[in-house]
């Protein structure tokens, strides 16, 4: 009889552990806490309009955070992802306004450029075996200089604008930067793109061969290679994935504002990493989740708008973000240790 009792206890512990071992757990608890907090401060925050409002900044950040999360699970960083949203936006607006391209063609050109940059980032990392932190820091600075230099040379100013007058603008805007009315509330269409990207990334991670390879190259690249995983191809594809996400976000923002500053996107790269880490990604790779990164982005969106709704000084936002990052990282580490030591 005692052995039966022991088995039942084991089943219970297994269930708890399986829940705790989910990388998203910390971010879900954090999101609930942040939502509860700002809801108590401001009734507008919890209304449908309020939700649509704070989901908007979460959406563009979320698309990037999900792509960065996949890359981080694969064991690499991309510091050039933020400034690349600026580059792709600048390419789109410059080609459409200065050279009279159709908006769709200009977007396609931006996508091709992004894929090339992502490919080069990946190739440099797998060929040189240098830390991707350094390699992409290099491309980050180069793109930053290029954005400013080329924009100034072409327009004499530090921004390009006037996308509204370009051919094909209305269609592209409706698809990427418009709004959808659900139950009398306007939601930005970017929110749906974000949901789609999250769903796709989750499917890839959990239900595709490539997903298994991403976890493996981040967890132990040599071991993965030894059993025949195409590690270099996997990593290059991940860099091209973040570049594609940067193109999507760059295009969404360019179509929304119809103009792009030459310095746009700079400083965002760390926000993406923060969202991914809050969502349970390990800095050392091999562990994390796409949904977690999305929830990290939700926390960011709620804090960004919540501080305004609550009538506080927005200067406090960064302080809040830093505290959240530390708490989440500590919570994630505790949970993972518990999960791994549960049976030993």
């Amino acid at each position: 009889m005692t052995s039966v009792a022991a088995d039942e206890r084991m089943a219970g512990a297994g269930w708890v552990r399986r829940l705790l071992i989910r990388p998203e757990l910390g971010s879900v608890i954090g999101a609930v806490a942040v939502f509860a907090f700002f809801s108590s401060q401001s009734p507008v925050f919890r209304s449908a309009d309020g939700v649509a409002n704070w989901l908007d900044p979460a959406s563009t950040l979320g698309i990037m955070a999900v792509a960065i999360a996949l890359l981080m699970i694969g064991g690499e960083f991309d510091l050039s992802a933020g400034v690349l949203t600026g580059t792709t936006g600048l390419v789109l607006v410059t080609l459409a306004t200065e050279y009279g391209w159709n908006v769709w063609a200009a977007m396609l050109a931006g996508l091709v450029l992004a894929l090339v940059i992502g490919f080069l980032n990946g190739l440099l990392v797998v060929r040189t075996k240098l830390p991707s932190f350094i390699v992409t820091l290099g491309t980050f600075l180069m793109l930053q200089g290029l954005n400013l230099g080329v924009t100034k040379a072409l327009t004499g100013t530090v921004q390009v604008s006037g996308l509204r007058r370009a051919d094909g603008y209305d269609g592209a805007r409706a698809l990427l930067a418009g709004s959808v009315t659900v139950g009398g509330v306007d939601f930005r269409v970017a929110i749906f793109w974000w949901a789609g990207v999250t769903a796709l990334a989750t499917w890839v991670l959990m239900r595709s061969r490539a997903g298994n390879w991403i976890f493996a190259v981040g967890g132990n690249e040599q071991a993965a290679r030894a059993v025949g995983v195409p590690a270099a191809r996997t990593k290059i594809a991940l860099f091209m994935g973040t570049a594609t996400a940067a193109w999507l976000v760059g295009s969404i923002l360019a179509l929304r504002f119809t103009s792009v500053q030459a310095n746009s996107g700079i400083g965002q790269e760390f926000i993406y990493i923060i969202a991914a880490v809050i969502g349970g990604c390990l800095l050392t790779g091999g562990y994390g989740s796409a949904i977690g990164a999305s929830i990290g982005a939700v926390i960011f969106g709620m804090a960004d708008k919540g501080i305004v709704f609550a009538g506080w000084d927005a200067d406090w936002f960064k302080f809040f973000l830093g505290g959240m990052l530390l708490l989440a990282t500590l919570a994630n580490r505790l949970v993972r240790r518990y999960a791994e030591e549960a049976r030993r």
Binding site: R207, R209, N212, F215, A216, G219, A223, V227, G228, R343
Partner: protein, 273 residues
């Protein structure tokens, strides 16, 4: 007689000015265990890296089923039925047992070629049970398994994927006595299933009970390949430790010139066939 599953003839490998391996010959037959013994730096790693397709030999011949081959990489070796289990990189700790089990050879289903997770979990559970490996939950991360369990899962994986030859790189070296015994039992079970096993170790006490043939390496050269009936455990230990060198050491350390308890110290070093 059928040609051996895997045979090396006078293999040599040079890295820059370092001769890592010179004129090493060995063979493995199906259903037999060939042990490769040697101290650190003896060339064991270089040899298995050639056998498993990581390196290509500079001189000599590598034959599979009697046909000379030059392997293009670990993937080609795997496709030809040569599976290698490395000591420290056999498994990925943060990934679950079933994800590790199918890593690199994931079963797919449907038009989208999605990873057949249900099948992967079921097969992993069944295969581990058939090998007599007691793992409660294939969903648990491999990091929570003991060292012996990890090696055992890796061996079960190689057996499942139809390996004809299994190369084990020091599978017992980081393990305690009991855990090492568990792994030796799975090596014997793989052998009984008809696999040819190359078992790399520096412990003659692990090699002797399970081995059919013993290749001794020292400083990149072969001290000879011995069949089990031609060598005793003590001779193996003595050869392994450097034979005459050890005699000298015993002499040096012993008091008043008395040899210090080295077994069978009368045997000459070398003994290449």
């Amino acid at each position: 007689m059928t040609p051996p599953l895997l045979e090396a003839r006078d293999l040599g490998k040079v890295f820059g000015s370092v001769i890592a391996l010179r004129d090493v010959s060995m063979l493995v037959r199906a259903g037999e265990v060939t042990c490769v013994l040697g101290d650190n730096g003896a060339g064991k790693s270089t040899l298995i890296k050639i056998l498993s397709g990581v390196h290509v030999q500079d001189t000599g011949e590598y034959l599979l089923d009697g046909t000379p081959v030059r392997l293009g990489g670990p993937r080609e070796a795997l496709d030809r039925g040569i599976a290698t289990v490395y000591q420290d990189l056999a498994m990925i700790p943060l990934m679950s047992v079933w994800r590790n089990f199918f890593l690199g050879s994931e079963p797919v289903t449907g038009r989208l070629r999605r990873f057949d997770v249900a099948r992967a979990k079921r097969v992993a559970r069944e295969e581990l049970r058939d090998m007599g490996i007691d793992i409660r939950d294939v969903d648990q991360p491999v990091g929570t398994l003991s060292g012996g369990e990890r090696q055992s899962v890796a061996i079960a994986r190689a057996v499942y994927f139809g390996a004809k030859a299994l190369i084990l790189d020091e599978p017992t070296s980081a393990l305690g006595v009991r855990q090492a015994g568990v792994v030796l039992r799975y090596i014997a079970r793989a052998r009984d299933r008809g696999l040819g096993v190359v078992f790399i170790t520096h412990n003659p006490h692990h090699a002797f009970p399970v081995g059919d043939r013993f290749l001794l390496l020292n400083r990149g050269t072969s001290l000879g390949q011995f069949d089990k009936q031609d060598i005793t455990r003590d001779e193996l230990t003595s050869l392994m430790a450097g034979g005459a060198e050890l005699d000298e050491l015993a002499h040096e350390l012993g008091r008043d010139g008395q040899p210090g308890g080295v077994p069978d110290s009368g045997r000459p070093a070398g003994g290449a066939p």
